[in-house]
């Protein structure tokens, strides 16, 4: 895969073809069965996982510096997992944190992010959604301010707002341009419907609609009207991935 925008030179070599980075995930979760499912899913995606079952254990493990990503449940018995995040942030630790919680109100979400969480996922969730979020957090550091994006055969000029596919210009509506830009900033990364709704369309809730799929379908046809080449592939049931290589 040719990725011109992501600076992956300092990252460890990808373990599997689709994973540019392999994360070391510290999961702080007091529910053993959920912890096990998350661990299996993350390991299947190529990450290494350690599990801590309470606040003290979690804090100790986080301080060891092993983890490149923390996944913290807010409800750890009677304790609030956010206290771990706050403590770490006070100590100057900036490891990305994904907060998972059964508390879904906007206020809870805001307090989760204020405490230093980088993303907030509400239970019940699909473990594949969690896996995609972990991957997105890993890549967040590589986000670019470049004005030109190129992924495989796709080129995007963010200033002139022009897209070329295989050298040929592609006409896109503004909403399609916005959508493609999101994918081109995350080449090869799994992008879930929830992530698209939140980040591209600013919907802070899950719309019960298949609009996302329709939008993706439209974008696919724009990129390749003949239908021979699928640049945005479906990933299991959870979302999509830009696959611009040959």
């Amino acid at each position: 895969m040719a990725i011109s925008i992501v600076d992956g030179s300092t990252a460890p070599a990808p373990q599997r073809g689709s994973d540019p980075r392999r994360a070391s995930v510290l999961l702080i979760e007091d529910e053993p069965e959920l912890a096990e499912e998350v661990r299996l899913e993350l390991e299947a995606a190529g990450h290494s996982v350690r599990v801590a079952y309470d606040v003290d254990e979690g804090l100790r493990a986080a301080r060891s510096g092993w983890a490149s990503i923390l996944v913290v449940d807010r409800m750890l018995g009677s304790a609030d997992g956010l206290s771990i995040v706050e403590t770490l942030r006070e100590e100057g630790d900036s490891t990305p944190v994904l907060v998972i919680s059964a508390l879904s109100s906007v206020d809870e979400r805001i307090s989760g992010l204020k405490a230093g969480g980088d993303d907030y996922l509400v239970k019940p969730f699909d473990v594949r959604e969690l896996s995609a979020r972990v991957e997105a957090l890993m890549r967040r550091r590589g986000e670019t301010r470049a004005t030109r994006l190129q992924v495989g055969a796709l080129e995007m000029d963010l200033v002139d707002r022009k897209v070329r596919c295989g050298g040929l210009p592609v006409e896109l509506l503004p909403r399609e341009f916005k959508l493609l830009e999101y994918f081109m900033r995350r080449p090869g990364q799994i992008v879930t419907r929830a992530m698209l709704l939140e980040d591209v369309w600013n919907f802070k809730f899950m719309a019960q609609t298949n609009v996302v799929d329709v939008q993706i379908g439209n974008l696919r046809r724009r990129l390749d009207p003949t239908g021979q080449r699928n640049y945005i592939v479906n990933v299991r049931a959870v979302g999509f991935k830009l696959d611009a290589d040959g």
């Binding site: 879904s104 109100s105 019940p124 503004p174 909403r175 899950m206 019960q208 939008q215 049931a237």
Partner: protein, 460 residues
Amino acid sequence: MQTVEVFRAPAFRLALAFCFAVSAATAAAFGVIYLQVSNADVQRVSAVLVDEAAKSEGDSDEQLRRALELRLTRDIRRLDYVALFDASGAKIFGDVPAVPSIPVDGAAHIVRQQLLPDSSGFEPALFVARQRPDGAVVLFGRSLREVYDLQATLLTVLAIALLPTVLVILAIGAFFARRASMRFERIHSAILRIMNGELHSRLPVGREGDDVEKVARAVNLMLDEIERLLDQLKSVGDNIAHDLRTPLMIARAKIARALDEETDAEILRPILNAAVSQIDRASVAIAAILRVSAVENGALGNRFTDFDLGAVCAEVVDFYEPLAQSKSIEMTVDVRGPAPMRGDVDLMREAVSNLVDNAIKFTPEGGTVRVEAETIDGLPRLAVSDTGRGIPPQDRARVFRRFFRGDGDDVPGHGLGLNIAQTIANLHGFQLTVEDNNPGARFVMAPMAKASLGLVRAAE
């Protein structure tokens, strides 16, 4: 109600205390009058007697005797006592057999039991004994019988006057106590009924307009709200049970069947996939239900900013347009100038989305969905209309209820979208109503009338 309870009632005790206070005050006033009147009489008689005794000082025995005799003969009512005793205490003259046991000092003294001159009995009398220069003792006295009779009469009159006062106060106290007690009893039994599950019962409210009445009215309003919430909770509970149980039951059945019968992975896969999608259905239902309460519990106003409702409409239409196109539905947005408003832009986007989503769902192929935003009298107003089958008049109030599904609804959904939209509208002081679009439905979100807005604020 039993009589005993009347007397135990706090209101009656209060009346009783009041009665005692009034009686005591009245008795005290009467007592002062009584003392003043009776004392005045005794004082006057004393003064006369002391004066006469003093005057007799200079008289010779003969003069004194004549004066005393004259006095006795004039005393038709037999009220006066006069006597003269020699130095040894023997009576020289008069109608008193012996010197009464009072000091011989020229001052007035009361003798409780003075033998009557005709020895027929005793009576109270006032005496002044005075020593003459020759050692003899002159005695002047006057019966206090009339004075004491007057005092007794006065006392009787006072007592007779006080008694009705006390009785009237007691009667009034008992009346009000009984009334208050019966009122509280009615309230109490209403509360008992409510506690026993008769949630539609209300506290009795009359026309007194007093504080108890105000409290009762407030409690009734509170009960209305609690009953409404409980009804809602119950229907939500029923619907949650249905929305969660059905998919979980299907998923369970599929998995159990797969476990029992199938060993071939290729046959297992679709069964398990179907089970997973049923569980997903349950998860989405939970998320939607939580969303409603999250919006309802959202602290009003703490994230409010100024934004353009027209721009939000344009965004939402832009988002939904591909979906509309895929159903060959024409989608138009009619935004007449900016429609500035203050609120939570994320929530408002969600409300508009739910309306548009709903409109697209219920519009057949080839139909039209139209979104309008405008400013009328400085207030924003939004309308989403479709050309679907519309909403029959009898359902127009119900479509906003949680989990409402039209009869024979074959359109997928949870019946929560319109409820969420209405909740969000209300949070912003807007009203969401539905009218006929001929054909189709037209949802209008407009600011509530000032009066009803005040009610909503007061209810919060």
